[in-house]
C-alpha cells in the first residue's frame, strides 16, 4: 500500500470517523491489530468476527458495557487466551495467536483487572521478576546487580512503594497492589502497554498518581490501551476510543466524536 493512502487512512481515524477501519488498511501506522477474531465461551460469543487496529504511540480507550468482550480482547492480544479463529498482527508479524511467553519479544506488558501479583514474593521481587535474563544460564546471575536495580529504585519512587519494598505483595493494601502492578509494567519498559481497569476502586489521590504515570508513558511515545468505565478518565487520557458491544465493534474514533454517537450512548451510556 502506498504511504499516502496509509496516511490518509490514519488521518481518517484521527478525525473520528465511526466507520470501522478495513482490516490491514493502516498497517503502516498501527502497531497491533486483529482481523476477523472470534472467541466463544461455552457457545456464547465473547468476540464476534472482530477487526480492530490499535494506533501506534497513541492512547486507546477500550470501552463497552459489561460482557462486551473488552477483557477477552485484551487477554487474546496479550496471549492469555487463545482465539478460536482470526488473525493477530503485532507490527509486521501476523499470527493465529500470541503465546504468553512471547510478550517480552513483542515488547508488550499489561496489568490485570483483578490485580495479579506473585503474592508471597516481596515488592522488590515482584518488580524484578519480569526483567530477569530469560535464558536459563543467564538467569543464574542475580538481576539486582545490574542496571535494573536503578530502574527499580525509580519505579519504587514513582509508585510510592519505596517504604514497602520488603513487604510481601499479599501484605499490601488494595491501592498499593494496583500501584505495584503498574510498577511491574513500568519495569518492563514495553512499547505496547495494556491497562485493564487501572482505576477501579482507587482513592482520588491514587487515581491522579496513576494518571500521572500514564501521562509519563504518553510523553515517551508509548502505545497505551486502557479498559475503563469512568468516561471522564477515558476522555481525559485517550486519543482514540474503541467501543465494543457483544464482541463486535460498535464504533471507534476520537473521544469527543465517539462519545456523542447515538449508538454508543444507547448501548453504553443508556441515554
Amino acid at each position: 500500500m502506498k504511504i499516502d493512502k496509509i496516511v490518509k487512512n490514519f488521518k481518517s481515524i484521527q478525525k473520528g470517523e465511526l466507520k470501522p477501519i478495513k482490516p490491514l488498511s493502516v498497517y503502516g501506522l498501527d502497531i497491533i491489530a486483529c482481523k476477523n477474531l472470534n472467541k466463544q465461551f461455552m457457545g456464547i460469543k465473547a468476540i464476534d468476527n472482530l477487526t480492530i487496529n490499535i494506533p501506534q504511540a497513541q492512547t486507546t480507550g477500550l470501552i463497552g458495557p459489561n460482557g462486551s468482550g473488552k477483557t477477552t480482547l485484551m487477554n487474546i492480544l496479550t496471549g492469555m487466551l487463545k482465539p478460536d479463529s482470526g488473525e493477530i498482527r503485532v507490527r509486521d508479524k501476523i499470527r493465529k495467536r500470541i503465546k504468553s511467553h512471547e510478550l517480552r519479544k513483542y515488547r508488550i506488558a499489561r496489568t490485570f483487572q483483578d490485580g495479579r501479583l506473585i503474592e508471597q514474593l516481596s515488592v522488590e521481587d515482584n518488580l524484578l521478576l519480569p526483567v530477569a535474563d530469560n535464558t536459563i544460564f543467564g538467569g543464574l546471575k542475580e538481576v539486582k546487580q545490574d542496571d535494573y536495580k536503578a530502574r527499580m529504585e525509580q519505579v519504587l519512587e514513582i509508585t510510592s512503594l519505596t517504604e514497602h519494598r520488603h513487604k510481601k505483595a499479599e501484605e499490601l493494601s488494595y491501592g498499593l497492589r494496583k500501584l505495584l502492578e503498574i510498577g511491574r509494567l513500568l519495569m518492563q519498559d514495553a512499547e505496547i502497554n495494556f491497562f485493564d481497569e487501572p482505576f477501579t476502586g482507587l482513592f482520588p489521590e491514587i487515581v491522579e498518581k496513576v494518571c500521572d504515570i500514564i501521562g509519563g508513558l504518553q510523553k515517551q511515545g508509548k502505545t497505551i490501551v486502557i479498559i475503563e468505565h469512568n468516561m471522564g478518565l477515558i476522555k481525559r487520557l485517550s486519543d482514540h476510543i474503541i467501543v465494543l458491544d457483544h464482541g463486535t465493534l460498535l464504533a471507534e474514533g476520537r473521544p469527543d466524536f465517539v462519545l456523542k454517537n447515538k449508538a454508543v450512548r444507547e448501548a453504553y451510556l443508556g441515554v
Partner: protein
C-alpha cells in the same frame, strides 16, 4: 561416638534429599512425590556399578546422575504439563513404577533380596572405610548441595521458579518458557537425590527396594513441611527433627514395635498440625 556419627551421616543423606525436594516443592511449587524413585535409582546405580560393573564409588555416582537425568528429563517433560495435586498424583505414579521395576527386574536388581557388599568411596589408594571419614566426605557434598540451593534461591532463575509456583501463566507473560524451568529444576533435583542415594547405598552396604517406596517420598515431604517450604535452613532442620525423632522414642524406653508404630503416628500428626497451624513450616518462606 559411633552412634552420633551414624546419626550425622543419616542426617546428611536426608538433608541432601530434603534440599533437593525443596527445590521442586518449595521453590517451584511442584508437589513431587517421585523423590524416593530417584533416590532409589541413585542407590541402585552405585550398588550395581560397584558390585557388578567394577566401578568406583565416584564413577557410580556419575552413572546414577546420568540415569536419573535421562529419566527425569523424560518424566519432567510429562510432569511439566501439570501443577499442584495433579503433579503429585502423576509423580507418585512414577515412584510406584520405579519401585515395581526395582522389585521385579531380578536379573539386574536382585529383586526383593537386594544387593549386598556395596563398597566404600575411595580416592586413589585412600578408602573412606571409617564412619568418621565417610561423614567428612558426605558433609562436604551436603554443604555443596546447600550452597547450590542458596545460589539458585537468590538468582533470577530462582525468582522465576517462585513466580511460576504461584501463577504460571502470569510468569509466562513476562517472557519465560516456564515448562523449561520446571523441567530443569526437576532434573537437578532428581540427580541430587540420586547422589544422596549413592551415599546411602555405600554407607549401608546393602540395599533392597523396600527403602525406596512411595512412603519414603511422603516421609521426605514431611521433612520439608516441618522444616519449612522454600527454605534451605528449613530443609536441614526438618531432616534433623525427623531423623532424631525415632532416637528420642528409643531413649524413652518404649518397646521397638510400639516405638515404630508411634513414630508413624507422630509423623502423620506433625504433617497435619503443620499444614493447619504453620503451613510454611518452621523456617519456611512459602505456604501452599
Amino acid at each position: 561416638m559411633e552412634y552420633i556419627i551414624n546419626l550425622a551421616i543419616l542426617f546428611c543423606i536426608y538433608g541432601m534429599l530434603a534440599l533437593s525436594l525443596n527445590m521442586v516443592i518449595g521453590m517451584s511449587g511442584l508437589v513431587s512425590l517421585a523423590q524416593a524413585a530417584f533416590y532409589g535409582i541413585g542407590a541402585y546405580a552405585t550398588a550395581i556399578g560397584m558390585t557388578s560393573l567394577g566401578m568406583g564409588f565416584f564413577s557410580s555416582i556419575l552413572l546414577g546422575i546420568l540415569i536419573n537425568a535421562i529419566i527425569s528429563l523424560v518424566v519432567g517433560k510429562i510432569l511439566a504439563r501439570f501443577q499442584y495435586d495433579y503433579y503429585a498424583i502423576v509423580s507418585a505414579g512414577l515412584s510406584v513404577i520405579v519401585f515395581s521395576i526395582l522389585l521385579n527386574w531380578k536379573d539386574v536388581t536382585n529383586g526383593a533380596l537386594g544387593i549386598y557388599g556395596i563398597g566404600k568411596p575411595a580416592i586413589g589408594s585412600y578408602t573412606f572405610y571409617s564412619n568418621a571419614t565417610f561423614l567428612g566426605l558426605i558433609f562436604i557434598f551436603t554443604v555443596a548441595v546447600y550452597l547450590l540451593y542458596m545460589w539458585i534461591d537468590r538468582s533470577s532463575f530462582g525468582r522465576v521458579l517462585k513466580g511460576l509456583r504461584e501463577d504460571e501463566k502470569l510468569t509466562q507473560s513476562m517472557g519465560y518458557k516456564t515448562k523449561h524451568y520446571k523441567s530443569i529444576i526437576f532434573v537437578l533435583s532428581a540427580t541430587l537425590s540420586g547422589v544422596a542415594g549413592s551415599f546411602f547405598a555405600s554407607y549401608i552396604a546393602f540395599i533392597d527396594p523396600s527403602t525406596f517406596q512411595l512412603k519414603e517420598g511422603i516421609f521426605l515431604f514431611t521433612i520439608i513441611i516441618v522444616g519449612g517450604l522454600s527454605s534451605a535452613l528449613g530443609s536441614v532442620v526438618g531432616a534433623l527433627v525427623l531423623i532424631s525423632l525415632p532416637e528420642v522414642l528409643r531413649f524413652i524406653g518404649l518397646p521397638y514395635e510400639t516405638a515404630a508404630q508411634l513414630q508413624q503416628i507422630i509423623y502423620g500428626a506433625m504433617l497435619v498440625l503443620m499444614m493447619v497451624f504453620k503451613p510454611q513450616g518452621l523456617f519456611g518462606k512459602y505456604r501452599m
